[in-house]
């Protein structure tokens, strides 16, 4: 059981955003997508989840092409968590998580739907917030509620766009640890876009480096996190140090030319 992305290309108007992207990932693995701003990380995630269907190339999940699925069938397989959410009409945390059951319900939620939603809440330890209004929560808490909703959606493929971008250090660790546990426990496939290379190294099973519309390196942390790749992708000088058998990146100061 795996996800295969084959020769995916995406154009926005006439501009090529993504060209010829291919990679595989097995169930139970967390894939980290690294790359500079504006290089199409978010677009790639939206293409994979078919929110923006790619013009060419295919996404094969469980041996089936995603193009053959209806919008509702896709929603039962893929769940997408955006960078941030805000609502003028905020609902309670429970009701927000219950929305994850929409692909399965026909007008009325059942006891089963409620059980799934509450289990997701408990999985992310959000019980204390259950009846709060979602707009009353902090950014990190809200992010976790949306992740809980994704879990309630029971996807096979979980896609998260920078789930840690506006969280503090402890919250970043918490959220990634929870995602990782869920991926292992439920044997999901998860893809996250992430900026922090060290965090990615700590939690992801596999990394992809995105630059100039395509993948320039893919593999395990120790194979692709090196000074050369980082310079090529981000244009910064770094020193690589080894911690717990993982490659971590330490930034070097630019030589100022004055």
């Amino acid at each position: 059981m795996s996800l295969q992305v084959r020769n995916l290309s995406f154009k926005y108007h006439r501009d090529n955003i993504l060209e010829n992207i291919s990679f595989d990932i097995e169930a139970g693995n967390l894939l980290g997508l690294l790359g500079p701003n504006g290089m199409g990380k978010s677009t790639l995630l939206k293409c994979i989840s078919h929110i923006l269907p790619p013009q060419s190339g295919n996404i094969i999940i469980f041996e089936k092409n995603l193009r053959s699925f209806s919008i509702k069938e896709k929603a039962k397989i893929i769940s997408y968590v955006p960078q941030s959410t805000y609502s003028s009409f905020p609902m309670s945390v429970v009701d927000t998580v219950l929305m994850g059951r929409i692909p399965y319900i026909n007008m009325k939620i059942t006891k089963n739907d409620k059980d799934k939603a509450f289990a997701a809440l408990e999985m992310l330890n959000l019980e204390d917030y259950a009846f709060k209004n979602i707009n009353e929560l902090s950014g990190g808490e809200r992010q976790q509620v949306i992740i809980a909703r994704s879990i309630a959606q029971e996807p096979s493929l979980l896609i998260l766009d920078e789930p840690t971008s506006n969280l503090d250090l402890k919250n970043q660790m918490d959220v990634l640890e929870k995602i990782k546990n869920i991926v292992k426990e439920k044997k999901l496939i998860a893809i996250i876009a992430i900026h922090d290379i060290n965090l990615a190294s700590m939690f992801c099973d596999k990394l992809l480096l995105l630059k100039d519309r395509t993948i320039i390196a893919e593999g395990q942390n120790k194979d692709i996190i090196n000074e050369n790749n980082i310079r090529q992708v981000y244009g910064v000088e770094t020193t690589i140090i080894k911690v717990d058998n993982r490659h971590h990146v330490v930034l070097k100061k630019k030589k100022t030319s004055t």
């Binding site: 919008i71 009409f89 609902m91 929305m99 019980e127």
Partner: protein, 347 residues
């Protein structure tokens, strides 16, 4: 307590509140039948209703109740309920708290149709008051079709809908003003009076027409309560991720709520404020879950218009102040009070 039990208890509480509000609305409506220039007691009203139902012959007073008071109050309930329900749906599908059924220009198009019929006698059967109704209805639907047609070219997003709607709103207002500019004084007076929104002309026939539209449209829309939950609180991308086609649902729900709105205001004239404020009052009280919000706002809207119409009838009796005016006097303080005192997380 376990959060599961707590959730079920909250749900039951909300259902209880909704039922109570409907019961209150019915009791209040029966009471308001007694109020007006002719003095009638509650007892007389009840016995009149009994006689009407058993088809006995009626006294003059009972005829007043049957042919004037009851259709008027039913129309008030239906108008308030319908406009509020439609407003809740429009706000949900556009994700915008400033939207009411009138944002997309329906009311000014209806006012244009009515003015056209009153001033030039254009339209179908224009010599009758029903001609005014039909012309108003025709133009409000025409406006809605234009709004949807134009914004469909650019993807039917909330922004395109609202902006096209506002533009057409101004266009039809300009048309109406042009007609008024060239009209005779007595025609101008009745054309302007139409825009105040009034229930004076309500008949059983009107009640039946509006009732039919509501009975068809409400269940169709209520079935989509979860879709509205998703659309009201998420960007289109995420709505899609939940297995919903946002553009399609926006078009269908939008057209149904336009239909409800147009069929009401064609008979009553513009009772504008209910469609904006009753949904908000309801949200502040019962929350944004459309499973409960839709029925609750229906009752709040009905109640608001019944109250406003009754106040308009009795406060300067025998002069009747148009309900469209009173409803704003009543709704604004209530709304502002709720904004100040209720939840901070709102908006």
């Amino acid at each position: 307590m376990d959060i599961r039990e707590q959730y079920d208890e909250q749900t039951n509480k909300k259902i209880k509140w909704i039922s109570l509000l409907f019961v209150f609305m019915i009791i209040l409506s029966i009471y308001t039948i007694t109020l007006g220039t002719a003095n009638i007691s509650v007892h007389e009203v009840l016995s009149a209703i009994r006689k009407i139902l058993t088809n006995s012959s009626l006294t003059v007073q009972e005829k007043i109740i049957l042919h004037l008071r009851i259709p008027r109050i039913l129309m008030a309930i239906l108008a308030g309920a319908g406009l509020s329900f439609a407003g809740t749906v429009m706000q949900a599908i556009t994700r915008n708290p400033l939207v009411s059924p009138f944002t997309i220009g329906i009311s000014s198009a209806a006012a244009f149709g009515a003015s056209l019929a009153i001033v030039f006698g254009l339209g179908i059967y224009t010599s009758t008051s029903f001609g005014i109704v039909l012309t108003a209805f025709f133009f409000s639907l025409l406006c809605a079709l234009l709004v949807y047609g134009i914004s469909n070219k650019i993807g039917l997003t909330p922004e395109t809908l609202i902006l096209t709607g506002i533009a057409l709103n101004y266009l039809f207002s300009a048309f109406t003003a042009t007609i008024h500019f060239f009209s005779q004084e007595h025609q101008l007076a009745s054309a302007v009076a139409w825009t105040f929104g009034s229930l004076n002309a309500s008949t059983w026939e009107h009640v039946v027409y509006v009732m039919v539209v509501i009975v068809i449209c409400f269940p169709l829309l209520y079935r989509q309560a979860w879709v509205f939950n998703a659309m009201a609180s998420n960007e289109d991308e995420l709505v899609q991720g939940l297995g919903i086609n946002p553009a399609k649902n926006r078009a269908v729900a939008g057209i149904l709520s336009v239909l409800v709105t147009a069929s009401i205001i064609s008979f009553t004239g513009v009772i504008g404020f209910v469609g904006l404020v009753a949904p908000h009052i309801s949200r502040l009280i019962i929350g944004s879950d459309h499973r409960f919000l839709l029925p609750f706002s229906t009752a709040v809207g009905g109640l608001l218009v019944v109250l406003a119409d009754t106040i308009g009838r009795v406060i300067l009796s025998p002069v009747i102040i148009p309900v469209g005016i009173v409803v704003s006097y009543l709704g604004v303080p209530l709304f502002i009070n709720l904004i100040i005192t209720r939840k901070k997380g709102y908006f």
